[in-house]
């Protein structure tokens, strides 16, 4: 018998609206890490490797909607263990879902389920409460460098095959060649090294200090 991809994860305009309205600051967001990675160092602190810049920027997440909401029954800890494969992967897993015309036929979705994938999570408001200034000031150097503000936004980004999909955006106020204003805009890998390092360090330190990442241990498994 060949199992089908879970229908509950497939987007529809109706479910997208429901997820949008039922996601709150207390909802948990979960993310997959490879089986060989560890969340903690041997010193029993969160390993900053788990939260390095290239991982954190644009990080894919799934929401576990709070139990007091009707949609909580469609969210499971192992949702992030599914990966879509095949030639339609880009269109199904990476494009933004906007209309019902993008709904795929459930039996044509090629996928794999990897039970060895580890799942980590955090509460939405805890990551969004991380904000601060950058770059770090350098005492003793002539001329204080101008400081900018950064914040973290968790945005809802449903794809045709994942109605529960969210993404992390790191935003900063420094002017760029494209946008000279000091409004918040997405920070990418092409920003000044000193800016990226300062922001990444501050995010890592705050996550480690408050220890708010946790391992999710298959409380609600759909497979196996």
């Amino acid at each position: 018998m060949t199992a089908n991809y879970p229908l509950r994860l497939v987007s529809s305009e109706k479910t997208v609206d429901l997820v949008k309205s039922q996601t709150c600051n207390s909802c948990k967001l979960i993310h997959r890490i490879n089986p060989e990675e560890n969340l903690y160092t041997i010193g029993r602190e969160i390993d900053p490797e788990i939260i390095n810049f290239s991982r954190l920027c644009g990080l894919s997440l799934n929401v576990l909607i709070c139990n007091n909401q009707s949609l909580s029954h469609i969210c499971f800890d192992d949702d992030v263990k599914y990966s879509v494969k095949g030639e339609n992967k880009k269109e199904l897993a990476f494009s933004d879902f906007t209309t019902d015309s993008q709904k795929p036929q459930i039996d044509v979705i090629e996928f794999e389920y990897d039970d060895s994938i580890q799942v980590i999570g955090f509460v939405k408001s805890e990551i969004e409460n991380i904000l601060g200034t950058y770059p770090f000031n350098s005492k003793g150097k002539k001329g204080e460098e101008k400081e900018y503000d950064f914040n973290i936004e968790v945005i809802y980004k449903p794809t045709p095959v994942n109605v529960l999909h969210f993404e992390i955006l790191i935003k900063g106020t420094h002017p760029t060649t494209k946008n000279k204003s000091e409004e918040f805009k997405e920070i990418t890998g092409t920003s000044k090294k000193k800016y990226i390092e300062s922001i990444t360090t501050k995010i890592k330190n705050r996550i480690i200090k408050n220890n708010f990442l946790f391992e999710v241990k298959d409380h609600y498994k759909t497979v196996g």
Binding site: G140, T201, I208
Partner: protein, 174 residues
């Protein structure tokens, strides 16, 4: 005639005990950070041999300076060192409510950048970037022990599980 005390004074005993205790802490911290380096530096060698060498040079140059400074501040209740594929050495030290983070980003053709943050619970009491030697001096001035924070923390090595360090699989490097 010179007067010699037949027995050491309380002060001398205290100094001697402190010195012995510091020496044990230094040795444990050195062993622990060396093991952490061996375990996590593979992330640098996975990038390139050059990055690994640059990281190793920086670790060898600064690790004992960091440990000496930490011991002079207070006995940490928790210690962690990680090497990240962002090409950084990241130290975490906990002293009860105090958290100290030291992160050095490694660069091939320019000086490395070190960022230090010191927190008393949620309050940032120091934050800056400077050469690591200067940064370590600056945190000494800001460290709460100078303002009444007890340096006689109930310290137990079991708190950072050093007894299991020898069981860590760090491949051929161990």
């Amino acid at each position: 005639m010179k007067y010699c005390e037949p027995f050491p004074s309380h002060y001398e005993i205290c100094i001697e005990n402190k010195s012995k205790s510091d020496s044990i802490v230094r040795s444990k911290l050195t062993k622990f950070t060396n093991t952490s380096w061996k375990l996590y530096s593979k992330r640098l060698s996975n990038i390139s041999e050059l990055d690994f060498r640059i990281g190793k040079d920086e670790f060898n140059r600064t690790n004992s300076k960091i440990i000496d400074k930490i011991i002079s501040l207070a006995n940490p209740t928790k210690v962690s060192l990680s090497v990240t594929s962002d090409k950084s050495l990241h130290y975490t030290f906990r002293f009860n409510n105090i958290s100290l983070f030291i992160e050095t980003y490694l660069h091939n053709n320019q000086p490395h950048n070190t960022y230090i943050e010191l927190f008393d619970e949620d309050e940032t009491i120091f934050s800056g970037t400077q050469p690591i030697e200067l940064g370590l001096e600056l945190i000494e001035d800001k460290f709460p022990s100078k303002n009444g924070f007890s340096s006689s923390v109930d310290y137990s090595y079991s708190k950072y599980d050093i007894s299991n360090v020898n069981d860590v699989d760090c491949g051929d490097d161990c």
